[in-house]
Symmetry: C2
Subunit: 376 residues, 2 copies
């Protein structure tokens, strides 16, 4: 088995996913390396932050530099220098979220224009499997149809139907040696459609299962209600992946509902906008009140930025001067924060103390950051 549940605490689970390039401790936050690199960082830094797995985007890697180049260079691990587990998405999310580039969807696949050069391109379940086989990722996601939350019930129903058709074709397609393959359920927050999709996808021999089509515009209460019954509706013995979630509150809540893996650009993208994630919420380091603040981004934090002795004042200076080093320090901090929050949840689950961990973390986040200007 590629997945072992080591502990449960309510619906929350702590486990291990075994892949061809190492183990993933769950719950696991997966930093996003869209184009083969976690933005601003090098692989050894990402590993040193405690990340077990990174995500690569099939859509972007297919167009630039192309799976033929990556395969010729020895696959995604050799090409990027990340030697641990890699999960690749299917490209479907980009195709369906960049809706003005979408040309046609039919039962066989989807036709769209590349954001790189406008050329007409097509993805099919077999084609996506083949790209991921050549990339050599450790976990390959199925091609699915991911509509925004606010489309008609008919459109959600078509997404569920075609996602199922495609999953049935992709599940047995050739794969890289040792590559795991995860199915994806759609259906928005409609209980009938979501249940139909989970039952259909879970009937296929996938190594893990994902909730797709959530956090795409519906409100958070609806989303969490859906996760609350939908995550446990997947088989207990395989990992459950919530696609596209990375804020602290959301992470705690989906873990509480039995989700094992999640990913999001939020920590890294927030860093590049100049904000630090902390246990007491976000700090916008461009704020003038940090101009002489000698404290680390977050007191007591052991990340390379805070533990390295870099002050809020220095980070603010770097941001204001468009220095890349500032984006790096914030990226290191934000990923560390998110990975530590997740590792703390794993530990709490193992101790049967997840409810208290979650409540404490929520209370701290709700308290918000101190607002005073530093007085020397």
């Amino acid at each position: 088995m590629s997945f072992v549940v080591e502990a449960t605490d309510g619906a929350a689970r702590a486990g291990i996913v075994r892949t061809a390039h190492g183990e993933i401790r769950t719950p696991a936050f997966m930093p996003v390396g869209t184009k083969g690199t976690v933005k601003t960082l090098l692989p050894e830094e990402v590993a040193a932050l405690g990340a077990d797995v990174v995500l690569g985007n099939t859509y972007h890697l297919h167009f630039r530099p192309g799976e033929d180049v990556i395969e010729a260079l020895g696959g995604l691990h050799a090409f990027t220098g990340w030697s641990g587990p890699i999960l690749t998405d299917s490209g479907g999310f980009q195709v369906f979220s960049l809706r003005d580039t979408l040309a046609a969807v039919d039962d066989d696949g989807v036709t769209f224009r590349s954001v790189y050069d406008g050329s007409l391109e097509r993805l099919t379940p077999e084609g996506v499997a083949e790209i991921q086989r050549r990339l050599g990722s450790d976990i390959a996601m199925c091609l699915d149809i991911c509509p925004p939350a606010n489309v008609s019930r008919h459109e959600h129903e078509e997404a569920v139907r075609r996602t199922q058709l495609w999953a049935e074709r992709q599940v047995d397609a050739p794969r890289a040696e040792g590559q795991l393959r995860f199915g994806i359920a759609q259906g928005g927050t409609d209980p009938d459609l979501r249940r139909r999709s989970i039952e259909g996808i879970a009937s296929l021999p996938f190594d893990g299962f994902a909730l797709g089509g959530l956090a795409v515009g519906e409100n958070r209460e609806e989303m969490l209600d859906t996760v609350g019954w939908a995550a446990p509706a997947f088989p207990d013995d395989r990992p459950r992946y919530f696609m596209g979630l990375g804020d602290a509150e959301g992470i705690l809540e989906v873990i509480a509902r039995g989700v094992d893996m999640f990913d999001c650009v939020l920590p890294t993208r927030t860093a590049r906008t100049g904000s630090a994630l902390t246990a007491r919420g976000r700090l916008n380091l461009r704020n003038a009140r940090f101009a002489r603040d000698p404290r680390p981004l977050e007191e007591g934090c052991g990340c390379p930025a805070c533990g390295g002795g870099f002050s809020r004042a220095f980070v603010r200076h770097l941001l204001n001067q468009q220095e890349i080093s500032g984006l790096r320090l914030l990226t290191l901090h934000n990923l560390w924060f998110t990975l530590r929050l997740t590792a703390g949840a794993r530990d709490a689950i193992s101790r049967g103390a997840f409810d208290a961990y979650r409540a404490d973390a929520h209370a701290s986040l709700a308290a918000g950051p101190e607002e005073e200007t530093w007085q020397p």
Copy 2:
């Protein structure tokens, strides 16, 4: 004494400059950290490359974030996280090279408009000393007048005269504890003016001496002719610094003429344009012939990029996708190359083999890079 010559080989010297924050092995290339950071890197990476000393720009640090902020945060070392020696220039080079912001020069100082907000500002020898005292650098440069090569003899003569007046005022100004202070000679490539300036500056009790106003538009032959007699005209017992030189050919030639220290943005700026410095010249990594090239930037190189297993193909991909990681890998490589070239010169001088080292390095650079496309 703050300087010891350990070995000589012809006019070339190997030595040690002792500062309040550690030793500088000479010949020394000083990476430029204009605004308190070597662009794209963090301090521990710069140290790991083998740099003993970094340069900070007084002009930029004065305006952003200001010496008051840096002093409040404990000085430039604490502020930036670089714990080794720091040399700060005087700001004069920026004032005189940004000529459309120059308002007036008189015997007392120079008035100009800040490039940051257009405000009218003034630098004087005492003012520059005070800024550098508060920054807490290890080596503080004097305010000088640095005209481009092609100005009139009269303008060069005025530069020499005022640079001398200012040096006489700055040499005894208050300084940070343990801070060394270097004088600067001007005079372009005019033998009379340059000799007059060296004699005047060298008559003052400075801890080291710099050749300013070279590599500012004159041809290289004229420049090297001047260095050839001008560097040895400074006292033997103090370090000699060539301001603003960082290409491999130039480094070898000024070392051969008795220069001990030099700095330039060339290695880091070249990296950010997408080119790698190698023993056989520059490689433009954006070139399509590198698209599938599995080799490191430079074969046999031990830098974090080449030693880390990153291929030319991957670096090219990162550059083409505007990924910061690509700029970092090239910056690491180019600084490593420049620092190793300099360390190799130091070693060769100690062995009495500098002529052969220099000839070999020149021959390799002249041969140029191979031009073939990688054939798998």
